[in-house]
Symmetry: C2
Subunit: 207 residues, 2 copies
């Protein structure tokens, strides 16, 4: 056995690479892919190095939750901010697209299946709360006077968008297949949902 050539990184670099590899493995392999040995191998380093940087396997996983939470947050914020300012339909479509994207849904699913393992880790909620507290009024402004409580209605619309996006990202293909939607039709679902939400901007009544 010849001695391995060492690739020495800056600590931040190494941590980042490990996080990226781990995230990819969570997406492609699942939770079973998150052991130090295999993550390290994928990074081309020894598992001792991973432990050096994160202290333990649990440390690595907690760091990954943080990393992915930050990424989710950043994506939501970025996609919302770069959309034309007062255009709720576009904003909601962005939100849907962002949340249903593979990696983010895996994070949510992982958290929901991890018991209390990462209980204290939903930090950043302050940031995202302030984001939504800005977003909700924008949506509310477009609602007609017919709604008795426009703020509540806006919250519900955003909430619907978020839940549908997560469900869509989680088991969308499977359920689409089961209930007879073609792949194309399933892919068109977000746009259709957008239209339906648009209809909520119309006055209520006329049964």
């Amino acid at each position: 056995m010849s001695k391995a050539v060492r690739k020495r990184r800056q600590p931040e670099e190494a941590r980042l690479e490990i996080m990226q590899v781990a995230q990819r493995r969570l997406r492609e392999i699942g939770i079973g892919g998150l052991n130090v040995a295999d993550v390290a191998k994928d990074c081309g380093m020894s598992h001792a190095t991973v432990i050096h940087h994160f202290g333990s396997t649990g440390g690595m996983r907690r760091a990954l939750v943080d990393h992915m939470t930050d990424a989710l947050l950043r994506d939501v914020i970025r996609r919302i901010e770069e959309s034309p300012v007062p255009d709720p339909p576009a904003i909601l479509q962005s939100l849907f697209a962002t949340l249903s994207e593979g990696g983010h849904v895996k994070l949510i699913a992982w958290l929901s299946l991890s018991g209390d393992e990462f209980a204290a880790d939903v930090h950043g909620s302050a940031q995202i709360e302030s984001l939504f507290s800005q977003l909700v009024p924008v949506v509310a402004q477009r609602l007609p006077a017919g709604h008795e409580d426009r703020l509540l209605a806006a919250r519900r619309i955003v909430f619907l968008t978020a839940t549908a996006a997560m469900g869509y990202g989680l088991g969308g293909e499977t359920w689409a297949q089961v209930m007879g939607l073609s792949a194309d039709e399933a892919a068109a679902f977000p746009a259709w949902l957008g239209e339906q939400i648009n209809r909520m901007w119309l006055p209520e009544g006329n049964s």
Copy 2:
């Protein structure tokens, strides 16, 4: 150490008890709760017994996927069948409630995070496909002529109900909190969604 008093069960009984305990552990502890040693301890038996009945840890987990898939299927079918026959809103509310319920969402999340581990295990899809192929027309019949393709619209409505339910069950509380919905308001979300879907039965147009 006194010898343990053995409780001898019928094999079916033992398997069922193990499945129930494992299912509860998946709900309450997460994937980490699905090792033979701890499941066995919760059942009050030795881990060798669990292996005797399922062959291996993987065997136990595969059996659990089957067990929970069957339960999901049974619940969906039962709740739909016991609702007043041609009442789409009630049926969709039932579907939502069933799918968003804790245990079932955990199954879906687990499958989505398990890579190919249970690839060949979505059996029963024949049953559930036939179920939805009956359900969709019932929904479609209530749609107004305004819809160019009522069957497609019905599929989308059912699909929306299913995806929203899963997202709601998966991360509902968290997102509700983040976007400023009170617990009560979040709990009222399914009913609100039902109303919105009802509005889809109204004629389109009048922008």
